[in-house]
């Protein structure tokens, strides 16, 4: 099998991570924010898989599994909060949530 330079895998992860970060920073729709967070987590997972395949380990995959679990739980709670938010504010604009400051 041909080899793949490890840096390319990590670079891909970094790119996805950055795009996710841009999403978190720019989107006002909270659902998109949540999705961007998923992109970031997924990018981390990708980095783990890349690293695991460098070492030929299974540990990295386990870490990926944990990230998956974490993502699932987070999305569950996050979406629960979004529902409550929509009920209260009738909007998905994250800027609405700025009553506490100073």
């Amino acid at each position: 099998m041909e080899s793949i330079p490890i840096e390319h895998g990590l670079i891909l992860a970094a790119i996805l991570f950055s795009i996710g970060l841009i999403g978190v920073l720019t989107r006002r729709n909270i659902v998109f924010v949540l999705m961007s967070l998923e992109i970031m987590l997924n990018a981390s997972g990708l980095a783990f898989i890349v690293a695991a395949s460098r070492w030929g380990h299974a540990e990295g995959q386990i870490m990926f599994l944990m990230i998956l679990t974490l993502a699932a739980a987070e999305v569950a709670v996050g979406l629960g909060l979004i529902i409550q938010m929509f009920r209260r504010y009738k909007t998905v604009d994250i800027n609405e949530l700025s009553e506490m400051k100073g």
Binding site: V33, N95, S98, G102
Partner: protein, 616 residues
């Protein structure tokens, strides 16, 4: 009996305590008895001690009462040192002091603060005795400061008038400048010689310091600073005229007879120091001379009876300084004594006058009082004659000695003599100007009903009249004190010069007579000359010294105080507070409440920290 020397200051001190602790609850009679009596007791004791001492023939006598403090080699004690010099001083203080106390019982009889007055007076006498009897400079300094305090208290005795308070503070602060100089002198002496016992200091200084050495000059200069402050000599003379705000007995006791001469005493006491610093000794002479003349000219223009006397005091002390400066130590002390007699007399007499004319002090509102106030008239006559050195009065002998000593001095002696004679001329004019204006001519203001008096006021006056007349025949036993350095020979001067010296004050009296009694010369005409007006204003204001000091020291100090009331240094801390608040206001704005902003800060932190981490 000599051992009981400590009783001298103790009596008045006890009197002071008794009066303070009862604080005005005693009847005036008892207050008077305590106040004057304690000083009288002191005088009696002093007299007995003096006779014993003189009979004993010892040069000096030391009595340590108790050790004050002992810190390493610094061991001043409450020890009294008696020799001819302190003997004279002690007798003058207690004697004249007693007479003035006695006079004051009458003079102050109507004052509501009678008791307070005598408590201060007693404290003063106690302090003054400490000053002259102390065998070390620290004890001397204690008395020195103590008399200063009493002077302050008594000048400001009538405290309701702010002007009196001002005068009192001025007196204290100006003299304190001198005192500080003296204190530094003490530090210097101790640092260099390891002791502050006066005799030890003198011996050590003589042994260790070469004549004219820098240290000797510095030490003598610093002590001189103290002396000019206390004795109202140039340049610290400005407080004395204002000090006349106090009750007249105070002026007599403190500001004529005793305290102001403390500077003379100090220099005489430490004369060896001045001898090994000849340049400073010469400076003393010059200071004395200049003060004589300055004060004389000022006195020519004054209209307040007490101020005239004050300037004359200043001028007479100038003579004493002159004497000290030319090395005529005993002449200085002799003049100190005679001056105490006749100046006390003059002040007390002026007190009677003032009281009789209902507290009027302007001589131009008096006049023609000769008939109404005979005792005062007699007192003034004798006092004035003594002051102008009318032959064979007490002042004549002492002043004569001074001038002769100046004449005999090498170098600037002649100039000093000329100046001194000029001063005597001025003395003649201003003294009799006062005399003629007050007692002759038309009355222009208050006509007194009758002379205030009584035995306790007139008695002292009579005694002082006698002393002023015959005081010149008293021989003061100071040879042993000054034998060391003084040239003690008969004065060989021609009769011409002697005659001249006698004549000059008389000419002054005559001029005064022509102007103010016979009115042959008109003072108004003289004043119409522009230059004389200017001079008059200039002299009247005391050569503008007050004006100068105000501009140089007082106003800048007040200005500095005013602009820095809030304490500049504190504003630095205030700035820190302001800065913290501003930072808070700025940084709180970053807590916008927006999630995206918060996320941005995280991202920014990430970027910045990684940059720092990678680049460094």
């Amino acid at each position: 009996m000599l051992d009981l020397i400590w009783l001298l200051p103790t009596y008045p001190l006890l009197g002071f305590l008794a009066l303070v602790l009862t604080s005005g609850r005693l009847p005036k009679k008892i207050v008077g008895i305590i106040g004057a009596g304690s000083v009288g007791l002191s005088f009696l004791t002093a007299a007995i001690i003096a006779t014993q001492f003189l009979a004993g023939g010892e040069d000096y006598f030391v009595k340590e009462v108790w050790a004050w403090m002992a810190v390493g080699s610094f061991t001043p004690g409450f020890s009294f040192y008696l020799d001819g010099l302190s003997l004279v001083m002690m007798l003058v203080i207690t004697g004249v002091g007693f007479l003035i106390h006695l006079y004051a019982t009458g003079y102050m009889a109507d004052d509501p603060s009678f008791s307070r007055f005598f408590s201060y007076m007693n404290l003063f006498v106690a302090a003054m005795l400490m000053l002259v009897l102390g065998d070390n400079l620290v004890l001397l300094y204690l008395g020195w400061e103590g008399v200063g305090l009493c002077s302050y208290l008594l000048i400001g005795f009538w405290y309701t008038n702010p002007a009196n308070g001002y005068a009192a503070r001025k007196a204290f602060i100006v003299t304190r400048v001198g005192d500080t100089s003296m204190a530094i002198g003490l530090f210097l002496l101790f640092a260099q010689l390891g002791t502050l016992n006066i005799q030890d200091v003198l011996h050590a200084a003589e042994a260790e310091w070469a004549v004219g050495s820098g240290l000797a000059i510095a030490a003598a200069l610093l002590l001189l600073g103290g002396a000019v402050g206390k004795s109202a000599q140039l340049p610290l003379q400005t407080w004395l005229p204002d000090a006349m705000a106090g009750p007249t007995p105070i002026s007599a006791l403190i500001h004529a007879a005793t305290m102001v001469t403390a500077g003379v005493y100090l220099i005489a006491r430490t004369h060896i120091l001045f001898e090994i610093a000849p340049s400073v000794q010469l400076l003393v002479a010059w200071i004395g001379l200049i003060t004589v003349l300055m004060a004389g000219f000022i006195a020519l223009t004054q209209s307040d009876i007490k101020r005239i006397l004050a300037f004359s005091t200043m001028s007479q002390i100038g003579y004493m300084f002159l004497a000290l400066g030319v090395g005529a130590w005993s002449a200085a002390i002799f003049h100190l004594m005679t001056h105490a007699f006749f100046k006390a007399l003059l002040f007390l007499a002026s007190g009677t006058v003032i009281l009789s004319v209902h507290h009027e002090q302007n001589i131009f509102k008096m006049g023609g009082l000769r008939k109404k106030l005979p005792v005062s008239f007699a007192s003034f006559l004798i006092g004035s004659l003594a002051l102008t050195a009318f032959p064979f009065t007490s002042g004549y002998f002492s002043k004569d000695e001074i001038l002769l000593a100046a004449l005999e001095m090498d170098g600037p002696g002649t100039i000093l003599w000329v100046g001194g004679v000029l001063g005597a001329f001025l003395t003649g004019i201003y003294t009799f100007r006062l005399f003629f204006i007050v007692f002759f001519g038309e009355n222009k203001g208050h006509v007194p009903e009758n002379e205030v008096g009584g035995i306790h006021m007139n008695g002292p006056l009579f005694l002082l009249m006698i002393l002023s007349l015959v005081g010149g025949f008293i021989a003061i036993p100071v040879e042993s004190v000054f034998s060391h350095g003084e040239v003690h020979e008969e004065h060989h001067v021609s009769t011409l010069i002697h005659g001249f010296m006698i004549a000059v004050p008389l000419i002054g009296i005559v001029i005064s007579y022509l102007f103010f009694y016979a009115k042959i010369f008109s003072i108004e005409k003289l004043m119409s000359i522009p230059i004389s007006q200017t001079l008059h204003r200039f002299w009247f204001s005391g050569w503008g010294m007050d004006w100068l000091y105000d501009r140089l020291i007082v106003f800048p100090f007040l200005w500095l105080s005013k602009i820095n009331k809030a304490d500049l240094i504190d504003s630095f801390y205030a700035f820190i507070v302001k800065f913290a608040r501003a930072s808070n206001a700025m940084i709180v704005r970053t807590q916008t409440g927006y999630i995206r902003w918060y996320a941005l800060s995280i991202a920014a932190g990430l970027v910045v920290l990684i940059s720092i981490g990678v680049l460094l």
